[in-house]
Subunit: 112 residues, 5 copies
């Protein structure tokens, strides 16, 4: 699992049967978004079973975990990434300051 | 899953039995293509069950999800990547502007 | 599995059912934390079945291994990363000196 | 799956039982080899069920797909990467020119 | 699987039950160790069923393959990386010269 931020949504008319009805969000790993000059950003596409808003911080899981989080059990489904948690706050005193967004910083419990 | 762009097609005469009849496309992660000076591009090879054109934006899935998308179920197949969706549009207001191609920008619903 | 350091904790009210009751820690790969100017840090989120403190060095495992370490067996659970060991010490004579933290260096058995 | 080039072969006397009799090749992702100053090359080791020559372009698959391609079915085998196709040619008009080797360029069907 | 070099060993008193009795080594991907100024090294932790010495070149496998190599079969075990082969020699005429260590170069069968 990784800590990321929802940066957008994606739509596809032609897609695998199992993706119909799934909301698909684009997520960037947290650290990468925070560096404007960063050379590489990974645009992960994740199913969203939680009703996440653009801009929110999330925990993304892959593989079986993503299918369980979205549909309640693993099975023959054509996706392998999902948002498994919407982050309320995180306390990362040893992490780079740039991991924190304004939104989360306002809530206190800061990681100075 | 990741958001990418189809940059080409690949042909192999000698290959695993299960790959016969599968169209194999070369996909770059979206962000990477947009940076001419980027040091690292990952040429993913994905099965294409959707009839994707060169240049189109796609969602690529790995592992079981790729086999389900291509053959309807998981099983003992010799591939682990497939295009699971052809992107019509995406709205990524928080993503770098360079993620958008001209083609998609023309369609409106911009992410500026 | 990789060698990392716990840099923080993360909380989520809205999350997959299986994540309730799990402590979720943020872990950085060891090498990355040691380079202040590094361009890319991967904020892995891992379940913590061992009672790890912030700042400790850990071994993180993914997939089935993470579920076994946390719940004693694999199953349909919505997570795929966990701390499987808290590092007492490591002897890495051929690794970069910066991999060692002060805390571990004080314990002797150095890798200089 | 990724598109790579076979750069060498590796021998091991002490190895997991399942690796006996398997030819093990070293493969570099295509893009990386093409950049002399690239900072990071990933030396993937893949089983070769196809009789690939050093220097040839290949498609490499991981996990179950690698075991199926090598042994006809998945099972408890101690490897997770294999060459699943030897590339005859590829047409990648949108990919960097440096992806093409001299060998393949000579065959025509160029991607210029 | 990837080609790496054992750079150290790691000890953990508090760990998942399945890790007791397993020797845990720290492995760097080969290419990365060879570049002193490289920005990113991945300290993989792998179980060692083969009695590998520090400094030796190894083939590391992940997931099911790692469990099979270590315990003879897959199962609910809390690890997902293992050394599956100790490299005697490798012949990589197309790979960067820095991939070779002194130790292996002395044995002849060079890749120059």
């Amino acid at each position: 699992m990784f800590l990321g931020r929802v940066v957008g949504e994606v739509w596809a008319t032609k897609k695998a049967q199992d993706l119909h009805g799934l909301r698909l969000l684009v997520v960037e790993a947290l650290d990468e978004r925070r560096e404007p000059g960063a050379k590489k950003v990974t645009p992960v596409v994740a199913a969203d079973p939680l009703g996440t808003d653009i801009g929110e911080h999330v925990i993304v899981a892959f593989g079986k975990a993503a299918r369980v989080a979205t549909l309640g059990a693993d099975g023959d489904y054509a996706f392998e990434a999902a948002i498994v948690g919407i982050v309320d706050d995180f306390d990362a005193p040893l992490a780079p300051a740039r991991w924190r967004t304004e939104k989360i910083q306002e809530r206190g419990k800061g990681g100075s």
